[in-house]
Amino acid sequence: MQDLIWLLPTYPVLGFFVLVLTAGRLPKNIVAIIGAGSVGLSFFTAVIIATQFLSSGENYFIKEVWTWMAVGNFSPGFNFYLDGLSLVMMLVITGVGFLIHLYATGYMADDPSYSRFFSYMNLFVAAMLMLVLGDNLVVLYLGWEGVGLCSYLLIGFWYINPDNGYAARKAFVVTRVGDTAMALGLFLLFTELDTLNIQDMLYAAESEWEVGNDLAVAAALLLLGGAVGKSAQLPLQTWLPDAMAGPTPISALIHAATMVTAGVYLIARTHILFELAPSVQELVGWVGLITLLMAGFIALTQSDIKRILAFSTMSQIGYMFLALGVGAWSAGIFHLMTHAFFKALLFLASGTVILSLHHEQNIFKMGALRQKLPVSFFSFLIGSLALTAFPYTSGYFSKDEILIAAHGLEGPGIIFFYGGVLGAFLTGIYTFRLFFIVFFGDSNAAHPPEKEYGGWNMNGPLILLMILSLVGGFIAVPLDPVFGHHEEHHVSGLLHGFMIAVPLVGIAISFLFFYTKTFSVEKLMSNTFAQTLHKFWNNGWGFDWLYDRFIVFPFLWLARINRADIVDGFYTLIVEISRTANVMIVKTQTGYLRWYALSIAAGLLLLITIGVLL
């Protein structure tokens, strides 16, 4: 049965082809069956494979399908590699993916491009599976680019609005910057180690390079470049908020649960390389820390429900990076999984809210939705609690592990720890700010919802995800064979209490500000410093501004001034010279006989002079 692992991506690919080739001629329910069903089949297969794998007791399993290309010693194949890590990823992708597909069958029901939507979704799942299951970096890169493409296609799904197109292109191009770095990393690894098969490569790296080797550092840095691009970490984070232009299930699937965590997967997958380059590993931690804090602050100021969630995603991935940076590989992946549950939940719930409010996304135009939208309310409640690491929700366990591991690290560990705690505090504030504003208080909606949108296909996934968000923390991930068993870190009870309490304080502050309105935001915002800060945060710490000024505008300017291609000007100049020469020389053809005779005499004189004198 494990041999059938190749079926995993095959189902969605088939789904994709069927949907593309029928080009929207199928009725919607058939499309839904194909679209969601193919992923469901994958999930089903994945579960079977997972049980078999876990029961087999093997640490890994390889299935070779065919050699992609063989050029000299470069011969990556379409081979599948299954171990604990890819098992988790595979299950998350197919499982959460299936739920989101299911949800989308309801969510997109009124969209004319129904079939196009599901074709892209299916392609995405296939690509994502290739990413996590490939046994070599080239196949991983195939999936990597594939998910990027689908992300582009789905962000720009509603193409009529040029802003969506812009967001889509931004997402693609910015991540491609990272991808290019990653490709260079691949080149470097292959040039030095002669293989791109991940396990062989890691083995070779381990045996050829000592810790801190420059090449290892360079390779790890380049891979990190790819990871930060895909996972929207500093400095390539700017695309993620804009990516919310896509339909909400997309935000849930791609920009929360799966694709954006690919960077985490990549680093975890090649963790040996990062261990060989401790400086880069520490950098990963720093990137995570800064991103999580930055995103937290930004989330405080946002008003778009999906953007808030997007920044929170960014922030949570920051935690995962932090985990990777401190070497808590398992914790990172564990958080990846729990995050997939509760963030998907939050996004899907926000989708229901948005649909019910006729595509209203501004939280200040919502309010008092608790009664009207009960499913969303509960979803949000559970999701938010998990997000803020409320004790014994799934997020609690994973975040706990990360912070404890950070605390246990020498050197910057203590900064990582307190930074992480501060991030948790911010999480508490912005999450419940959203929660309270949307579900409590007065209704500010222009079109108050008549009823909650959604049937079983939308609510079912929500309920399942609620359960997972609550109890997901108890799932034991089989990662030890992959990362080796790390020593358990412990913190003192007091510190642990502090860790638990801080997010709760955050929630409490939110409560006071937005529920009871004991404190007034307006008052807080009255001084200019606060306003400036707010504006600064609201604009994402000015990164977009910076990139526009220093990269985008110069590029556009260069493009504009050189539209006619200056190189061509050189040839035009030659033409002009010929033309001028022609005009000048034609003047010598005066038609006067005596002038002609003179030219002969002058020519004669000239030639004799040259001949005699030289």
Partner: protein, 102 residues
């Protein structure tokens, strides 16, 4: 004692040749141009005779005869053209023949 330097003969021919050339270049009257051409050809003939004299050959003289022949033929054709030209343009100004240029 009874001798002339070769270069003097040649220089005389060169002088005549140059004068003929000046004539061709300056005169606008086509008859004068034709006459100047005759001077040039004649200068060439003179140079041949000098050469013949220097080598004691008759060949130079034969060449002179040929020049004489071609001068005659050229004058005949040239004068024929002058007649046509005068008939058409009523002038001997060579500058009227400048309709083609460029």
């Amino acid at each position: 004692m009874e001798s002339i330097p070769v270069e003097h003969g040649l220089i005389l021919a060169a002088i005549l040749f140059s004068i003929g050339l000046i004539g061709v270049l300056t005169r606008r009257n086509i008859v004068f141009v034709l006459m100047s051409l005759e001077i040039m050809l004649n200068a060439g003939g003179l140079a041949f005779i000098v050469g013949a004299s220097r080598w004691g050959h008759a060949e130079g003289q034969i060449m002179f005869l040929m020049i004489l022949t071609l001068a005659a033929a050229e004058v005949a054709v040239g004068l024929g053209l002058i007649i046509q030209m005068f008939r058409r343009y009523k002038t001997v100004d060579i500058n009227v023949l400048s309709e083609m240029k460029g």
